[in-house]
């Protein structure tokens, strides 16, 4: 589990302090007392009151850990802590794999629209339960499925259904990438069975996904909810140094397979955490870590935790097409982004735009969504992703206008269709078969509405008010 919750010496101290504070108070009241970020709510939280009655809720006082970040930037920022979670063995749902992950109920932000009023912070009012998450991916191609088509979960205690069914939110977090999740209240300790149903994946599909994932499928998994679980997910929380909270940057992905590629926070405010992250990936072992997490192995029944893919999109150089240059030339040679960090940003989303020429293998694949009625042509791919971790920004609405002097070559505001490709993942694309985009053309990508996905802390203030991004087609 070493790469799963990487630590540094610095955070280790925080973690120990935290464990000392909460050591006597495992379970519900520790959750209610420690992790709700909203002080007002705590006061009338019955669980918090119970905690006081037991004499265990009173240790938190002013030193109580908090998730509040004062005045976070309107950009991706470092949250206060790294989450801990229990990963369960992935289960099969037809062609899809489902990797369940459980943590304590915690804050996140829902979004339904475009303005300030359309964003709401969810603060769980009961600490009794779990933050239930899962990643879905296609077994055949390994593609993470970052689209919300109405997944449903039903929780059972034996034969008895617990609470109402839930449609978990599609969500992004720095550590988990794109996943589905929600806070789920549980009445008491016990063994619960979760039934997940996944409707057909209705987004436009290309490559090896054409004609697949068209069936509703389901899977079930079980988990234990008890003191041991709570201790694990609370005890495993690691606080960052308070000086870093709210700094621009992102926590490294958990359990990602490409340690070497991560890092590179060049050009951003905080170089300290960048170093720390790079170190963190290589950390071999930490004594405290081993102690705290050794018991996890028993739950999973094997020594290595189940591998759940992280939804990172490909690096810039992996796109086998013409990477469009940014109009205001600040990044890389000739204005053409050469790596993730030199991509232009829109409300801190990194936007990659690539043009695939007519007749290229990529253009043919990306033009063919199995409907058979689209003539291949050039393919314009626009891929918004989070800075740092390259998490796809799904469920946005994007359009494009391509101009040459006073002539409009495509558009104005041609719809870029959200598309899931087996190679390039989720993106927004346009088949251009009634015109020809040429070097020198200007390509304006407009974000009609921002990604309608819920956000964990650190992503809640970015990708909301997204200005258009102008590209130009470079000379080959």
């Amino acid at each position: 589990m070493q790469d799963f919750t990487p630590t540094t010496d610095e955070t280790e101290i925080d973690r120990r302090t935290f464990v000392a504070q909460t050591g006597a108070a495992t379970g519900v009241l520790a959750l209610a007392g420690c992790f709700s970020g909203d002080d007002e709510e705590d006061e009338d939280d019955p669980d918090a009151e119970n905690g006081d009655e037991n004499g265990a809720g009173e240790d938190y006082g002013d030193g109580r850990p908090t998730i509040e970040v004062e005045d976070p930037p309107n950009a991706v920022y470092l949250p206060t802590h790294r989450e801990a979670m229990r990963m369960l063995d992935p289960v099969e749902a037809g062609d899809i794999m489902l990797g369940p992950m459980l943590s304590y109920p915690h804050d996140f932000w829902t979004i339904a629209g475009t303005g300030e009023d359309a964003v709401e912070r969810e603060s769980p009012n009961s600490g009794r339960g779990v933050h239930m998450m899962f990643t879905l991916w296609d077994q055949q191609t390994g593609t993470v499925l970052p689209v919300d088509d109405g997944v449903q979960i039903r929780v059972y205690d034996g034969d008895e259904q617990v609470g109402s069914p839930v449609s978990p939110w599609s969500m992004i977090s720095q550590e988990m990438g794109f996943h589905f999740g929600d806070n789920v209240t549980l009445p008491e300790d016990g063994t619960y069975t979760v039934e997940v149903t996944i409707p057909p994946v209705s987004v436009r599909k290309t490559g090896d996904l054409v004609g697949r994932l068209d069936e509703r499928v389901s899977a079930t998994f079980e988990f234990e909810y008890d003191d041991e679980f709570r201790h694990e997910v609370i005890g495993g929380v690691q606080y960052l140094d308070e000086a870093e909270w709210g700094d621009r940057g992102a926590l490294e992905p958990m359990d990602h397979g490409d340690h070497g590629e991560h890092g590179g926070h060049d050009g951003h405010d905080d170089h300290d955490h960048e170093d720390e992250h790079d170190d963190g990936h290589d950390h071999g072992d930490h004594d405290g870590h081993e102690q705290d997490h050794g018991d996890e192995h028993d739950h999973n029944g094997h020594d290595d935790h189940a591998h759940v893919p992280y939804s990172a999109l490909p690096q810039v150089e992996e796109y086998d097409g013409t990477i469009l240059a940014t109009a205001d030339d600040e990044s890389g040679a000739d204005g053409v982004p050469t790596d993730h960090d030199s991509l232009p940003r829109s409300d801190d989303a990194a936007i990659l735009a690539a043009l695939f020429e007519d007749g290229s293998a990529d253009a043919e694949r990306l033009s063919d969504d199995g409907d058979g009625d689209v003539t291949a042509g050039q393919y314009l791919l626009v891929s918004p992703r989070t800075p740092y971790n390259r998490v796809p920004l799904a469920d946005a609405a994007l359009s494009v206008t391509v101009e040459r002097g006073d002539d409009t070559i495509a558009g104005p505001d041609a719809v870029l269709a959200e598309t899931l490709d087996s190679e390039y993942g989720i993106h927004y694309g346009l088949v251009v078969n009634d015109a020809q985009i040429e070097a020198g053309d200007s390509v304006t990508v407009t974000i009609d509405s921002p990604p309608q996905v819920a956000r964990h802390q650190g992503y809640d203030t970015a990708f909301l008010e997204m200005p258009p991004v102008e590209f130009t087609v470079p000379e080959q």
């Binding site: 829902t110 979004i111 339904a112 629209g113 475009t114 303005g115 009023d117 359309a118 709401e120 969810e122 009012n125 919300d148 088509d149 109405g150 449903q152 259904q161 609470g163 109402s164 069914p165 839930v166 449609s167 939110w169 599609s170 929600d182 209240t185 009445p187 149903t197 409707p199 057909p200 209705s202 509703r216 469920d395 946005a396 609405a397 359009s399 719809v415 959200e418 009609d448 509405s449 921002p450 309608q452 996905v453 819920a454």
Partner: protein, 434 residues
């Protein structure tokens, strides 16, 4: 079943929970509770011996219900849906016998003598499934569109009402729906109401399909009385008539009874009924979304931005504030706003601007979870399917979570019924003219 504990419940809540439990004991407890309340026997207006004075349409309810200040029909508060299966002895060669018809008609007439045809008395319909009509050699007349129920979205996997008939009982008095059910199907002493003994041999004709019995309630302030049920959060607004916190059934969003009526053939003055039963996820709706988000998803993003709705829809009057422009903007809103409203979306299923459905849905806590029994009348089942497709909005470029209220509803059952005219309500043949 054990009775609910009266000491911990308000009178209305107690009465509601008795309806859910049903049976003779619940009935007697309910009658005790209502006479305590009024200090005398509870008065329910009595019915008529002049049965010809009753409307030809079983679903002629609107003119026998009060209206609010905005002219919206106030539906009866308490509802029971009784699923019925024909007994073997009621049929000969697979078809219902003349005796069975007579027993059925006689039982229904008894009800009409005992109770006024009104929300203050008793309103009821008896409808029949496609499975019922299959027993006949003849087909239903072409003018009747009554397909087998089916799943209507890719995310649902409902069970279907495959029994024969459904008796929908409705009244503002919980004890009325209880005693009617007890009179028709109870095995204890027949209740008496307004000098009429509610005796019947209906059990000779129908068996009640107990596992599909459904109950519920609708009206301002009723949902909030159920916050003791797991899954019903305290945040349900005080005045809301429906669990999701908003009014519905605005006069101008409802089809008229005329509009949904089959107008020719033997089933003229009949209609079709769709009944779907669903769970509703209220905790996420109320605790994770704000009012602005809820209004955007229930009505339209513009309703939210312009604050058109009020807390529970009280600002909307007799319509849902859906101009043609707002309905037509649905697809554009999906892209530009990232969210579309349920009402806005469903209104795309209108034809020539007229709402095709007459909704008679009600809240439920059957199974101790919040939900909705969506009872809808329309000229053809196809009208319902069209509106449901518009409401599903698979064509819209919007995230599922922001696609109206799809994120919150979980359809468990669907059933289609023909509500014959009153004259043919007792075990009609598929083609009575043949």
């Amino acid at each position: 079943m054990t009775l609910p504990d009266r000491s911990t419940l308000s009178r209305r809540e107690y009465a509601r929970s008795l309806v859910a439990v049903g049976g003779a004991t619940a009935l007697s407890a309910c009658l005790d509770a209502s006479s305590d309340e009024n200090g005398e026997e509870n008065n329910v207006p009595s019915g008529t011996d002049d049965l010809d004075s009753l409307p030809a349409r079983q679903y002629a309810w609107n003119e026998f219900a009060p209206r609010d200040d905005n002219g919206n029909v106030q539906p009866p508060a308490h509802h029971v849906l009784l699923p019925l299966a024909l007994t073997e002895r009621a049929t000969a060669n697979g078809e219902p016998t003349a005796d069975a018809r007579e027993v059925t008609e006689s039982a229904l007439r008894t009800l009409e003598r005992a109770y006024e045809w009104s929300t203050d008395g008793l309103l009821f319909t008896l409808g029949y499934t496609p499975a019922y009509f299959e027993r006949f050699d003849e087909d239903l007349p072409e003018v009747v569109d009554l397909p087998e129920p089916e799943a209507l979205t890719s995310r649902e996997d409902p069970s279907f009402d495959e029994f024969d008939a459904l008796l929908h009982l409705a009244s503002n008095h919980p004890e009325v729906v209880l005693e009617v059910e007890e009179g028709l199907f109870g095995d204890q002493e027949e209740p008496e109401r307004n000098g009429v003994v509610l005796e019947s041999d209906l059990t000779e004709v129908f068996e009640r399909v107990d596992e599909n019995r459904r109950t519920g309630f609708v009206g301002d302030g009723l949902p909030v009385e159920h916050t003791d049920v797991a899954g019903v959060p305290d945040a349900v607004p005080e005045d809301a008539p429906f669990f999701m916190g908003f009014r519905s059934g605005f006069d101008r969003t409802q089809a008229s009874e005329d509009h949904v009526t089959i107008d020719s053939g033997p089933f003229a003055d009949g209609t079709t009924q769709h009944v779907s039963s669903m769970d509703i996820q209220l905790e996420v709706w109320f605790e994770q979304e704000n009012h602005y988000q809820r209004v955007s998803k229930m009505f339209s993003p513009e309703h939210a931005a312009e604050d058109l709705v009020g807390d529970v829809g009280e600002e909307l009057g007799a319509d849902s504030g859906l101009s043609d422009e707002r309905i037509e903007a649905t697809a554009a809103d999906a892209r530009q706003e990232g969210v579309v409203g349920h009402a806005q979306k469903a209104a795309r299923g209108r034809e020539d601007g007229d709402p095709p459905l007459l909704r008679r849905d009600f809240n439920t806590i059957d199974g101790d979870r919040p939900g909705l029994h969506f009872v809808s009348l329309q000229h053809e089942i196809e009208d319902f399917v069209r509106v449901r497709e518009a409401m599903t909005g698979a064509d819209l470029d919007v995230a599922s979570a922001n696609n109206g209220i799809l994120h919150y509803i979980f359809v468990n059952r669907r059933g289609n019924y023909l509500l014959p005219p009153r004259e043919l309500r007792a075990l009609p043949a598929a083609n009575p003219d043949a």
